[in-house]
Amino acid sequence: MTEAAEMMHVEVTRFDPDQDEVPKVQEYDIPIQSDWKVLDAINYIKDEVDSSLSHRWSCRMAVCGSCGMMVNGEPKLTCKTSLADYSGSIKIEPLANFPIVRDLVVDIDGFMDKFRQVKPWILRAKERAEDMEALNEKGTFSQSPAELGAFKQFSMCINCLLCYSACPVVANEPEFIGPAAIALGHRYNLDSRDEGARERNETFRGEGTVFSCSFANECSQVCPKNVDPAAAVNQAKLGAVIDWAKGLVLPREGA
């Protein structure tokens, strides 16, 4: 509000399945502020120019993970990407590698299913009632800062799905379970409170999971939260193989 408005040319993908056969591009010229993020520009269009534009957003502080889009061909969290990094014109498209529902909104139900496949919850060998002795008098598990640190990084994923958009394997093999889901499964495998690594590693040895990864490392490059899913995927490969080798050598528990 304090500075003279600069103009920007914005190209936005539009797609309304009721009307359009295929996605098209709509162009807007809008005044911008120097401290705006890309999301602010989209919201300006929505509020002041064209209220029929559909996009997802909420927290505008890079933690809810709603507003991932392609900005000039790169997957970006639009609330975290400064408009000042682009000059003159900018192209905003829906996240690559996802079916487009409408305008900048993509279908992420496929991801939600993959997410569940890695069993992203604490698995314990014993039933809850028999498991109480594992807890201290305050009712919590004991976990040292080092044990916490072992998985903390991989628990920071906000499910913004930029990694799926960047991943060349996802592009070729849509069934690939993908970086975020593997990182999440691996996060629980590394958690000292969890006893489900063997179960998850079985999933990881299945088709379309960790061994589909070609270590392109694209996921880690675009991750806005520095979760480093590529590291998780490759550590998970190792874990899955070690578990498999153990199964060959050691007698099965309970057998």
Partner: protein, 572 residues
């Protein structure tokens, strides 16, 4: 043709409280079917943005008595003490449960959960996971909820009406955002867990989804909204965006400084436990405004602000305890707190008021429950203490889940055809609204008008003439909101019509807020009036209850539940 689905209970909202309620119900009744309806995917819910921590007694030098008294005093004695006693008793168990479910709480070297200091709390009782507590809690809850196959999620469904029969709540009518089709999602009990309505105000830490939908649903169904005049201003938001900088920054040792570079809070003496900066939020926010008015605010291109100084904490400490604060400050205001002061100013953060509930999370309507920020069980009274709200989501959510399930098991399903009919009416109403270019009001324009009205009338400091103006203006805006100009005719992911319905919800609440505020002629907690600067227990020690009528809200009173702690002067 609308789809009818039938469940035992229906939960509206997939944030902390909604997920906790779903898990409580699913655990207790593995054979029951629980619908979890949310207008966003659950991991997008605004619980995700909470930063500082969740309060529960953990240390040996602490007690439930102390936590209870801190909460009552923080509430400026408007908190219901039966609720507070139940809350402080359940809090440790709830946070420990979350730990068992995988929440990565920060740890002490001996493997126990670490706690930190927070405003208005006499000892360290705030559990934390660095400074992304809400994020970790929400994701732990969501991921844990996925193990229950009897929780059926309806992601991106916008609830537009509560379906009722003989005064009992029997389900909801919801618009599937993806398809534009209507659903009647039936259950024998309904839990509202939709969060607050910070977006009524222009400058808020709240995300765009926090439009008070649940409050408006209950209000329209005849349930009272309680204590809506109490709006919490968080002392430290980034100027411009309103992004939250957590109170933990002060809990970890940060200072607030004015234009002269002074730690001005020392002079106000609100601090708890030898720490001037650890006053309750209402008081610290007022102190900042007083500094502005005394000419000691820092003027810059982002407007008048104070400064949060973390530079003395050192890079290692900031990286270990406050990494998100550093990330936010760098990204959104271009300041690295390791070397520079973060500009901050008070920002709308939380609604103490909401749907009137009791210690059982039950509303006055049989079969309708509410938990979390949407509800007002009067845990927070006139001012909430930082880090009590995340715990409240869990405690109240669990209670709501269990009680709603019990209620559902003892009641009947209702007449499915009649309920479908209700949903069909609702569907017709929304169909008529979609893309109707007849109206003359722009959504964004009216929203901005509502925003500025509320900021002018119901800020940190209020006075009755301007509150009356705001109430009048809010009423006019509510009437104009029935004449919106919509252009998007598509049924698929039409965010314009969602925005319109959210605005209608907000303007309704804005009016309730302003009218409730204008009626309270005293200063209590977050409701601070220049023309009535003192608390008045003789005339105003009651809850404001607002009921919907055609001419706007009708106000009533409800007694505060006292008992264990007698009201006294609130001094720190």
């Amino acid at each position: 043709m609308i789809q009818v689905s039938r469940h035992d209970i229906v939960i509206v909202g997939g944030g902390g409280a909604g997920l906790r309620a779903a898990i409580a119900a699913a655990e207790a009744h593995p054979d029951a079917s629980i619908a979890l309806v949310s207008k966003v995917y659950p991991m997008r819910s605004h619980t995700v943005s909470a930063e500082g921590g969740a309060a529960a007694v953990a240390r040996d030098d602490d007690s439930e008595e102390l936590h209870g008294f801190d909460t009552v005093k923080g509430s400026d004695f408007l908190g219901d003490q039966d609720v507070i006693e139940y809350f402080v008793e359940q809090a440790p168990r709830e946070l420990a449960l979350l730990e068992n479910w995988g929440c990565p709480w920060s740890r002490n070297d001996d493997g126990t959960v670490s706690t930190r200091a927070f405003g208005g709390m006499t000892t360290k009782r705030t559990w934390y996971a660095t400074d992304k507590v809400g994020f970790h809690m929400l994701h732990a809850l969501f991921q844990h909820s996925m193990r229950f196959e009897n929780i059926v999620r309806y992601d991106e469904f916008f609830v537009t009406e509560l379906l009722t029969e003989n005064g009992e709540c029997k389900g909801v009518a919801a618009l599937e955002i993806r398809t534009g089709e209507f659903h009647a999602i039936l259950g024998r009990a309904v839990i509202l867990a939709t969060g607050g309505a910070g977006k009524i105000f222009p400058f808020t830490t709240n995300g765009t989804i926090k439009t008070g939908d649940g409050m408006a649903l209950a209000y329209r169904a005849g349930v009272a909204l309680k204590d809506m005049e109490f709006v919490q201003y968080h002392p430290t938001g980034l100027p411009g965006t309103g992004i939250l900088i957590t109170e933990a920054a002060r809990g970890e040792g940060g200072y607030l400084r004015n234009a002269d570079g002074d730690r001005f809070l020392v002079d106000y003496d609100y601090g708890v436990g030898n720490k001037a900066e650890l006053g309750p939020r209402d008081m610290v926010s007022r102190a900042i405004i007083q500094e502005f008015e005394a000419g000691r605010g820092i003027d810059s291109k982002v407007g008048l602000h104070a400064a949060l100084d973390l530079t003395h904490l050192g890079e290692a400490h900031i990286n270990e305890k406050l990494p998100f604060v550093r990330e936010l400050a760098k990204t959104y205001i271009g300041v690295d707190p390791v070397y520079e002061h973060i500009p901050i100013r008070p920002v709308v953060h939380y609604m103490m008021g909401g749907v009137d509930t009791d210690v059982n999370s039950a509303t006055s309507m049989p079969g309708l429950y509410a938990a979390g920020e949407v509800a007002c069980a009067s845990l927070n009274g006139a001012n909430r203490l930082g880090s009590n709200s995340l715990t409240e989501c869990l405690v109240a959510g669990a209670v709501a889940g269990q009680n709603a399930m019990d209620f559902a098991r003892g009641s009947s399903e209702g007449n499915v055809e009649r309920l479908r009919g209700q949903a069909e009416c609702e569907s017709a109403r929304v169909d008529a609204l979609r893309g109707s270019a007849k109206g003359s009001e722009q959504i964004s324009g009216l929203r901005q008008e509502m925003n500025s009205t509320m900021e002018e009338g119901c800020g940190v400091y209020r006075d009755h003439p301007s509150m009356a103006v705001a109430a009048e203006k809010a009423r006019e805006i509510r009437q104009r909101a029935s004449d919106l100009h919509l252009t998007d005719k598509s049924k698929v992911f039409n965010t314009e019509i969602i925005g319109a319905m959210e605005l209608v919800n907000m303007v309704e609440l804005a009016e309730v807020l302003a009218v409730s505020a204008a009626a309270r002629k005293e200063s209590r907690g977050a409701h601070t009036c220049r023309d009535f600067p003192k608390r008045d227990d003789t005339n105003f020690l009651y809850h404001t209850m607002a009921y919907q009528t055609e001419d706007g809200p009708r106000l009533d009173k409800k007694d505060v539940k006292l008992g264990h702690w007698e009201p006294q002067e609130r001094k720190y």
